[in-house]
Symmetry: C2
Subunit: 98 residues, 2 copies
Amino acid sequence: MKKAIILSYSKEAEIFKALSHPTRLFIVHKLKEKDICVCELTAMIGDDISTVSKHLSVLKTAGIADSTRKKNQIIYRLKMRCVIDMSLCINRKRKAAL
Amino acid sequence: MKKAIILSYSKEAEIFKALSHPTRLFIVHKLKEKDICVCELTAMIGDDISTVSKHLSVLKTAGIADSTRKKNQIIYRLKMRCVIDMSLCINRKRKAAL
DNA sequence: TGGCTATTTGGTAAAATAGCCAATATGAAG
DNA sequence: CTTCATATTGGCTATTTTACCAAATAGCCA
């Protein structure tokens, strides 16, 4: 059984895990500009729509995005906008490292 | 073959992935206070030293930590300190959600 | 209602990750 | 040089993740 002090980081880890896939990061960066439906994201990404849907589900479960229905489309929205700051932080570091 | 625009997020994704494990987050939060050797981290975590060493290797490869030798210990240091800001951002959100 | 569009869910195979033990390195100290 | 302490690497298995296809679901509209 894992120590409680370690387990206390599980929720935070889940959020980082949701951001740990290139496709999901791409989605986050698109959503920072505007709300987008699954179909449009799928067209941009080029994966099967079921794959994209599952990525979106991961982001939603982690609390990073949420969704609403509009006619027969599901529109996703970036809920945790501070992930953009994380991105900036990382890329600032990456450029500084050159 | 994945689209280039998606692949361009791979490096950023790697950093988030490195932070996506409770044990590694624990390590990061300890390292923000002071530099620590593998043996001390291992004692705090309770996993096999080889497991801890591999976690540290992930953090190092991602550019989040680095290490120096001191006598026969390897001392790890938090290199990308802005991951602390990410943590704050996430936990601020989490508390706001209650 | 029935068909249409958009999305999610289930199933599955391949790949990646985690964690343990054993084996190997690497420097320290006698 | 030998032994000790510290850390890393290799090998293995169990678990998780990813991505596809097929099937099911949900709302819209004739």
